[in-house]
Amino acid sequence: MHQQKFEFLEPDVKRLFKTYLEKPELAGLILLLLLIVVFQIRSHGVFLNQDNLRGILGILPEAGLVAIGVTILMISGEFDLSVGSVFALMPMTMAVLMVHGAPFPLALLAGLLVSAAIGFINGYITIRFAIPSFITTLGMLFMARSLTVVVSGGFPPLLPADLPNWLFTSFVGPGNMFRMSFLWFAGIALLTSLMLSRTNFGNWIKATGGFPPAAAAMGIPTARVKIICFMLCSMLSGFAGMLQVLRLGSPLPSIGEGMELQAVASAVIGGASLAGGIGTVMGGIIGTTLIRVIDNGLVLSHVDANWFKFAIGFLTIFAVVANAWMRKRAKAIKMEG
C-alpha cells in the first residue's frame, strides 16, 4: 500500500529520501545554517562577530569530543550515560597525581588509562551479563562521580603553574580565533570520521550496530568491537574534561554534570539512530554545534535564557520523530531497478 502511495513521486523526491538515508546529518546541517542566519539577524550582527565566534569555538571542542564518542558508540548499538562523570574523573585523577609530584605527561597517561578502564568495565559488564548499557552506564555515572569527589578529598586540588597550556588552551590562528583545543578537536574529528567511513573497523562498527546477528555470522568479533567503542567513548570524554579543566584552571568535581544527556541529544539531532547502525561523526559535531549555537544565540537575541533547555528538548524529540518518519518513508520506496 505504501509503495502505491508513492508511485506519483518524482525521481527528485526519491533521490532526496535516498540522500537522507546516506547522509542522516543533512537535516541537522540545514537547521544549523538556518539558525545561524536567524540569530545573526536577531542579534543585529553580533552573533557572527569575531569575539562571539571565539567564545563558541573555544568551548565547542569539549562538548564536541564527548559527542563524537557517544555517536560512535551509538552507531555500534550501545549507549553511555557515564561520560559526564568520566569528564570530571579524568582531570581530577590527573590533578591529584600532579599534586603528588607526577609530571604532566605521566598524569595525562594515567588519566587516559583510568578513562579506558571505565569504558572497558562498561562494555564488559554490558556484554558479559547481556544487560542494557543504559543500566551499566547509569550505575557508572554515579560511581565515577562519587570517585571524583572521593579522590579530590572534597577540595579541588591546586593545579601546578607550569601546565602545557600552549598545547591545549592557548589562542592561535588568524586574529587568535581558535584555542589549541579546537585543533585537537578538528584532528580527532577527522581521524574518527575516517575510521568510521573509510576503514574496515568502521565497517565492523556499522555492521555490529546495524544488525548484530549478521555481523556475528560473518565472523566479526562484535563483543570486542563494542568494548573498543566503549573505551574510545570514555577516553574522548576524559580528554575533553581535561581540556575544560585546563581552560578553567581548576579541577572542579562537579564539571560535566548533565553532559551525558546533551551528548545523546547531539548524536540524535545529528541523525544517529538509537537502535544503532546509522549515524556519522559529522552528525554528532553538527548536533553539538547546534546546541551551542542555540545556547549562545538565545542570549544574544535577548530571549530568556531559561528557554535553552526547552529548545534542546524540543529539538531532540523533533529530530527523532523526523528521522523515524523519513526512514519509514524512504524504506517504502524501492529503489532497485
Binding site: 576503514t199 574496515n200 565497517n203 549478521a214 555470522a217 565472523g219
Partner: protein
C-alpha cells in the same frame, strides 16, 4: 569416502541437558546438492550451526576434504570454504550492497594490526561483478540492502558466497517468506551451484522445493538421521512418513 568434501562422524551436542544431536554421521558429497529436512527441533539447525562455526560440537569429528578440522568460530568455517546463508541474518539492512558483500573480509589498501583503509574502488568493481555473476540486476552497489526485496537479499548473499569461492554453500531456509517468483529464482540459484562445482546444502521445510533442486535428501528427527536417499529413489510421501 574419497569424494566427500565434508564428513562428520558421531557428532553430539547437548543444550543444557537436551541431547540435540545424537551421534550424527554424514558425508557431504562433492558437487552434490543435498536437501536437509526435518521438523523444528529435529537437529538440522544444530548440525548446520556446528558446520558454520556458530556452535561447537561436544563430541565427534569433522573432516573437510579428508583433513580433521576444528571449527570454533564462523571465520574458521569461512576460511575452510564453508559459507552459510541464513534466512534473516546474513545482511545488514542499513549498509550498502558493496559494504555487505565484504563484511569481515574487506579489501584494504594497507593495514596496521588488521585495521586498514578500505579499497573502495575494488569493493565497488568486484561487487558489481559478483552481483552480475548470479544474474541479479541491481542498479548500483551503493543501494542499501534494506531497500531490496527478500529474494534480492538472498541473491546478494549467494553472490557473496560465490565471490569468496566457497566450496560448500549452506542455505538455511532460503525460500521462507519469499514470493512465488522469488522462490523460483532461489531454486534456480541452488540448481546452478552444481555447474559452478559448489556443493550445496539446502535446508527447508518445503519438501517440494527440496525435491526440485536437490540430488539427495537427508531427513532428521529427534537428533538423528532417519533417512538418506537420492531423490530419484524416494518420494515426498516416504520422507514425510519418517519425520
Amino acid at each position: 569416502m574419497a569424494d566427500a568434501i565434508i564428513s562428520v562422524h558421531n557428532l553430539h551436542k547437548w543444550y543444557s541437558g537436551v541431547h540435540a544431536l545424537k551421534g550424527v554421521t554424514l558425508d557431504f558429497t562433492r558437487g552434490e546438492a543435498l536437501g536437509l529436512v526435518g521438523d523444528n527441533g529435529a537437529g538440522k539447525s544444530t548440525l548446520i550451526n556446528i558446520l558454520s562455526g556458530v556452535h561447537t560440537a561436544d563430541q565427534g569429528e569433522i573432516k573437510v576434504e579428508g583433513r580433521t578440522v576444528r571449527i570454533a568460530k564462523p571465520r574458521d568455517a569461512m576460511d575452510l570454504g564453508i559459507e552459510t546463508i541464513y534466512q534473516y541474518n546474513s545482511m545488514v539492512p542499513t549498509m550498502s550492497i558493496a559494504r555487505n558483500l565484504f563484511i569481515g573480509r574487506e579489501p584494504t589498501r594497507f593495514s596496521v594490526l588488521g585495521v586498514g583503509l578500505l579499497d573502495q574502488k575494488k569493493m565497488a568493481s568486484e561487487s558489481i561483478r559478483a552481483i552480475a555473476n548470479v544474474d541479479l540486476h541491481l542498479r548500483s552497489p551503493d543501494a542499501l540492502v534494506g531497500e531490496l526485496s527478500g529474494g534480492q537479499r538472498q541473491g546478494v548473499a549467494i553472490a557473496r558466497a560465490m565471490h569468496f569461492k566457497s566450496k560448500v554453500m549452506i542455505l538455511d531456509e532460503p525460500t521462507n517468506h519469499l514470493s512465488v517468483k522469488e522462490t523460483r529464482k532461489v531454486i534456480g540459484f541452488v540448481r546452478g551451484l552444481k555447474e559452478q562445482g559448489i556443493t550445496g546444502v539446502f535446508i527447508s521445510h518445503n519438501m517440494h522445493h527440496v525435491f526440485e533442486c536437490c540430488d539427495r535428501v537427508v531427513a532428521m528427527a529427534r537428533g538423528e538421521i532417519v533417512l538418506d536417499k537420492r531423490v530419484t529413489e524416494t518420494s515426498i510421501d516416504e520422507v514425510h512418513s519418517v519425520l
